[in-house]
């Protein structure tokens, strides 16, 4: 039985890599496009199936399965393995990853149906590689494998953000994402390396038992955990490393759903969940985690309020929710963070895919271009609202319990500051999400670009079509009150939406009423005071109400609301200059410094060499002077030589 869950997990893990290898190596097949897409999706489905089976078996057996093969030998021993560690956390994560991966791949068949065949094949190759890497991360039995998969998901993120690399913004966003997460990864690598010197192993199970038996020296452990947290900061977009995530929305929307909402960005949280016993040894670092998490949550929520791009709103919301999870971990209740990770994975994927459907229909990302879509695409609107309610933390919806747990945990840990921040964020979240809902699905569009005919049939992504077919003046001038060509997406796209919506609801209902597996979890961690739930829900409802009043009823003029928060709003529109700071570090510090070093290398280090060689040649030329050609000078030479020799002999004696 145990071996079975290990084997199933392995199958789940290896199916995507099989798909990737087939697509990568058999490139004529890849270039066929749709067959490749279906092949990859099939593999993802298989992976999901075996992941669920593995989860079922594991939850019955309740014994972790540790299945490893030696990977890196040194000094006659093995210092690192690869394999799978099948336990409760990893199997649930595996299920989430494989589910979302499968759904997104399925969805993408519809979403990207006008993509040229080779590009589609490439897309699915990346998707398969991502699924493999993310599952490997979830299943990693040791920190080294975790790190490797961590980097690989970063790679896939880079590749998929830059999928439409012909767009300068996409190409730029891809490298930006890679660099910033890489900066964090460097820290994580340092942490792992340091931990190895301290503990002599990468293995999570061994480290855990060492930590449990106080066998780990505490000296320097804070630095190590902080380094690990650095990695998590990069990947999970914690302040100040959050800047890459909104830009990452340049990728296709399904990618955003999978990678930049549901799975990869939560890897940082997952890492901390996986190693919470290690962090527990270093409370000072946990405090940092909590504060940065709460601050990130607030910052991103504020930023989300001023975005007009639907995907960017969702992106900032993701950052904000990641801040939530991190705060929970910082409060020492990793399970709450993990729960939110799971529910958030479901409903945020739902929101992104829904947004994808909207974008697909409207042909634009911009909220002002939308409006009244609920009539034209009611199903999409419905599932989107389900997702929104989950995110807002309304009871019986997916995000409710996990959010309450986090708030309870933070309160319980006496982190009042972060708690207040999170409360504020809860209200802001409800506000900005319903702002999206009202702007997009209700009312009339404030500004409708005449892009409709580019609508569903465009071959290039919406923005490219937009830019290519119309110059801005035309777009600005074309005020149409309707979005006439918007319609419900095809079944390949709708189906995943419904699956996720149902999933969100099921989780929400089950958790709200303490059903199934949640009962036990609840019983363990119910320490929150009674006023907490009503307050949180109340704050959320207040946010919704404000959004309703502002964007639906127009009772509050959005302009005056904006004016009320004038300085903050203008700062938020500039993203609080954080992007500018990174830009400055890149252009001025890095590139500037590199230019200086480059100049030094060419003109000083190499210059000295040139000088020496030039001197040698010059010396030869100078020495020629003694060869005057006059025979008597030669005799002088002999005379001088004789003298020198005699002198030398005298010196000797």
């Amino acid at each position: 039985m145990m071996a079975n869950s290990g084997a199933l997990a392995l199958i789940a893990w290896l199916l995507p890599i099989f798909s990737f290898l087939v697509l990568a190596i058999v490139f004529p097949f890849r270039r066929l496009g749709r067959p490749a897409a279906w092949f990859s999706t099939l593999c993802a489905a298989g992976a999901f199936a075996s992941a669920v089976l593995a989860w079922r078996i594991q939850s019955v057996a309740a014994h972790p399965v540790h299945l490893v093969w030696p990977w890196l030998p040194t000094a006659g021993k093995t210092i690192a393995d690869v394999g799978v560690l099948v336990d409760a956390q990893s199997t649930i994560m595996l299920c989430l990853v494989s589910l979302v991966a499968f759904l997104v791949q399925f969805y993408s068949v519809g979403y990207l149906h006008d993509e040229p065949a080779p590009a589609l094949g490439r897309y699915y190759a990346y998707q398969s590689l991502f699924a493999f890497s993310m599952m490997g991360l979830a299943l990693a039995p040791n920190l080294l494998q975790l790190f490797m998969c961590w980097e690989l998901v970063g790679l896939c993120s880079y590749l998929l953000i830059g999928f439409w690399y012909q767009r300068p913004s996409a190409a730029r966003a891809a490298v930006k994402a890679f660099w910033i997460t890489k900066a964090g990864d460097v820290g994580m690598l340092v942490g792992i390396v340091m931990l190895y010197r301290l503990a002599g192993t990468f293995d999570i199970t061994e480290l855990h038992s060492m930590a449990a038996s106080n066998a780990l020296p505490l000296a320097g452990l804070s630095i190590i955990t902080f380094c690990l947290y650095l990695g998590a900061m990069g990947k999970s977009a914690q302040f100040p490393f959050h800047v890459w995530l909104p830009d990452a929305m340049e990728g296709p929307t399904p990618v955003s759903a999978l990678i930049h909402a549901a799975t990869m960005v939560t890897a940082g949280v997952y890492l901390l969940v996986r190693t919470d016993w290690l962090f527990a040894l270093t409370p000072n670092v946990l405090l940092i985690v909590a504060w940065i998490g709460a601050f990130t949550a607030l910052l991103a929520a504020v930023l989300a309020c001023v975005q007009d791009d639907i995907k960017r709103v969702l992106a900032y919301s993701t950052v904000s929710q990641l801040g939530y999870m991190m705060t929970a971990i910082g409060a020492g209740v990793a399970s709450a963070g993990f729960l939110h990770l799971l529910t958030h994975g479901l409903f945020k994927a739902l929101l992104f895919l829904g947004a994808g459907a909207v974008i697909h229909a409207v042909g634009s990302n911009d909220l002002p271009n939308m409006g009244g879509l609920a009539r034209r695409m009611p199903q999409t609107a419905l599932v989107f609202i389900i997702g929104t309610l989950s995110l807002a933390g309304i009871p019986i919806f997916g995000g409710y319990v996990s959010k309450e747990e986090i708030l309870g945990a933070v309160w319980g840990a006496h982190l009042t500051g972060p708690f207040l921040l999170l409360m504020l964020v809860a209200g802001l979240t409800a506000f900005y999400m319903f702002r999206v809902v009202f702007l997009a699905f209700f009312g009339t569009p404030a500004r409708v670009a005449a892009v409709a005919h580019a609508g569903a049939g465009h071959t290039t992504p919406p923005r490219v079509a937009h830019a290519a077919l119309h110059n801005e003046a035309v777009v600005e001038g074309a005020h149409v009150n309707e979005t006439p060509h918007a319609h419900e997406p095809p079944a390949t796209m709708l189906l995943p939406l419904w699956v996720l919506a149902v999933g969100t609801m099921v989780v929400g209902v089950m958790s709200t009423f303490h059903l199934g597996g949640f009962a036990a979890a609840e019983a363990a961690g119910e320490t929150a005071p009674g006023w907490l739930t009503p307050t949180a829900v109340g704050v959320a409802l207040a946010g919704i109400a404000l959004a309703w009043a502002t964007y639906q009823m127009r009772a509050v003029n959005p302009e005056s609301l904006a004016n009320a928060f004038g300085p903050i709003r203008s700062a938020a529109l500039r993203k609080f200059w954080i992007d500018d700071i990174f830009e400055g570090i890149y252009s001025f510090v890095l590139l500037g410094f590199s230019r200086i070093v480059g100049w030094i290398d060419r003109y000083l280090v190499d210059g000295v060499l040139n000088l020496l060689s030039d001197w040698t040649v010059q010396a030869g030329d100078e020495l020629r002077g003694i060869q005057t050609g006059k025979p008597q000078d030669y005799v002088y030479g002999i005379g001088a030589g004789v003298l020198v020799l005699i002198l030398l002999m005298r010196l000797v004696f």
Binding site: Y196, L590, G607, V617
Partner: protein
């Protein structure tokens, strides 16, 4: 093994085919290429056999071959291979095999080109397999010298504006031209070999056993003072070839000017000769010398890593970027060696291999891009990914390996080196190392993005560019596959390396401050 002199076959097969090319294949370009390919294939097969047949359980040197060259002076043609050299010989085989394909389109004076290339390779093999210092040195020089003609004849000139306080001298030396680059490279490396020669002779004289055999000399306990100075000589001598700062400046100019296959071979394999020399001769025979200078070696390696990466970032010529990246990556190799523990040294040797393949791939790709687009100016190119997806993909993979992405060989190497650095007596070496890794990510992706994954350049010259064709695919395929296979399955290499490094490290003196007894 069974009396077949595999190592000699491996070493001399390219030489024989060079002779055949020189005298028998005149003016028949295809025959020239096929002969070269045959020579490279024989070596590849031989090195594969050696690599596979190498008995990991026995460790030590295997496949001995011996022939008395000058018995009165104790000079023998003594060949043998251990885990480290087996891997490096394999590296050489892969690179030259790919290099033959990569230079398939060399038009002008192809016969001489291939002959010289193969001659060079003979030297490289010779260094890796010879166990006699004299023969070692002999092959070493053979490996350096053909470079002059290879760069001088088939290279390409760049432009460097002389300025700064040494501008006058730079103007006179003709900086930027291929002739300058060829001469600088050759003389610089030969300058290094002067140090090596003195070191070798000093060992011979100090040992007093009238033997040049590395094994015999390893048994000798040299006086610490001797060790100190001879190690320094070896370090400078081999270090020049390994591109240690500040003696690295031959490398960017040389590699940028050299034709494709030569850059591949030189950056890919020859720089490894330097590092190999430091490890084999320096560490292997002068443990106290190594311990004495370890701090210097490691610190300079750190400078190399960061400085090389920053310099690479400053370049606008694609080939210079790759060339400087070699400087940076060779720093990782030297850092691994300086850690004086098994993990670090394994990382160093693995990095030799990984960087060899990676940079070989890089230079092959740069060559292809140049051949098709006739440009090396990074910021004039753009959006080639659509037109040459194969080249773009391979370049990206090479770049990822270079920035140490897992599942490529580069990661394993860097990771082990970092692990070794943190466990060494000077743990802070870790930080320049990882900073270098980050900077590499910056410059590599910047270049990759600019050239391949961005908007199509408006320049009409770049409107229709073909992807790699025919034999070029072979070069790219072999190198890319190697890079990934060894990244995914590092034990193939590390297990073999380990048999050589573990005994080597065991001979080193214990150093205060180093940790991890289990790695020693």
């Amino acid at each position: 093994m069974n009396g077949i002199p595999l190592l000699s076959i491996m070493t001399w097969a390219p030489f024989v085919s060079a002779i055949i090319i020189m005298f028998c294949a005149r003016h028949r370009p295809l025959l020239v290429r096929l002969t070269a390919l045959a020579g490279a294939s024989v070596s590849l097969v031989a090195s594969l056999i050696v690599y596979v047949a190498y008995d990991k359980t026995m460790a030590g040197f295997q496949f001995h071959e011996q022939l008395a060259l000058v018995p009165s002076l104790g000079i023998n043609y003594l060949l043998a291979i251990d885990g480290m050299s087996a891997l490096l010989a394999l590296l050489t085989s892969i690179i030259i095999f790919a290099g033959v394909f990569a230079s398939w389109t060399v038009k002008e004076r192809g016969q001489e080109f291939y002959a010289l290339l193969l001659l060079l390779v003979t030297g490289v093999y010779g260094v890796f397999v010879s166990l006699d210092l004299f023969v070692f040195f002999l092959f070493y020089e053979i490996a350096v010298l053909p470079m002059y003609l290879l760069i001088g004849i088939w290279g390409s000139s760049g432009f460097v504006k002389p300025q700064g306080i040494f501008g006058k001298a730079m103007g006179r030396t003709g900086v930027g031209t291929k002739e300058y680059a060829a001469m600088k490279l050759t003389l610089y490396l030969l300058f290094g070999s002067a140090f090596i020669l003195v070191g070798i002779l000093a060992l011979y004289a100090e040992a007093g056993s009238h033997s040049f055999s590395i094994i015999a000399l390893q048994q000798v306990q040299f006086d610490p003072t001797v060790q100190k100075w001879v190690f320094l000589a070896f370090y400078i001598g081999f270090g020049i070839l390994a591109g240690i700062w500040p003696l690295h400046t031959w490398s960017p100019d040389g590699h940028a000017s050299a034709p494709t296959a030569v850059s591949m071979l030189h950056a890919g394999v020859l720089m490894k000769l330097g590092a190999y020399g430091v490890v084999r001769l320096g560490m292997g025979m002068l443990p106290d010398g190594m311990a004495y200078w370890a701090f210097l070696v490691g610190t300079i390696a750190c400078i190399n890593i960061v400085y090389g990466a920053l310099s690479a970032m400053a370049q606008t010529d694609l080939k210079y970027v790759i060339a400087y990246s070699s400087v940076s990556h060779m720093g990782v190799v030297m850092l691994g060696a300086a850690t004086m523990n098994v993990v670090g040294l394994n990382g160093a040797v693995f990095q030799m291999f990984a960087h060899g393949i990676m940079t070989g791939l890089f230079f092959a790709l740069v060559g292809l891009v140049y051949e098709k687009a006739h440009s090396r100016a990074i910021f004039s190119m753009g959006g080639f990914g659509t037109m040459m997806p194969g080249i773009a993909t391979a370049f990206t993979i090479a770049g990822l390996s270079s920035l140490g992405l897992p599942a490529t060989a580069g990661f394993i190497a860097e990771f082990m080196t970092f692990l070794g650095a943190w466990s060494s007596a000077h743990p802070w070496w870790l930080f320049p190392g990882v900073i270098g890794a980050f900077l590499t990510a910056v410059y590599v992706l910047r270049v990759t993005k600019q050239i391949f994954w961005s908007t199509q350049s408006p320049d009409p010259h770049f409107a229709h560019l073909p992807d790699a064709q025919g034999p070029e695919w072979a070069a790219l395929g072999i190198l890319t596959a190697t890079l990934v296979i060894f990244g995914v399955a590092p034990w193939i290499a590390v297990g073999t390396i380990d048999t050589a490094t573990t005994p080597l490290i065991a001979t080193l003196p214990k150093v205060a401050g180093a940790s991890l007894g289990l790695l020693r």
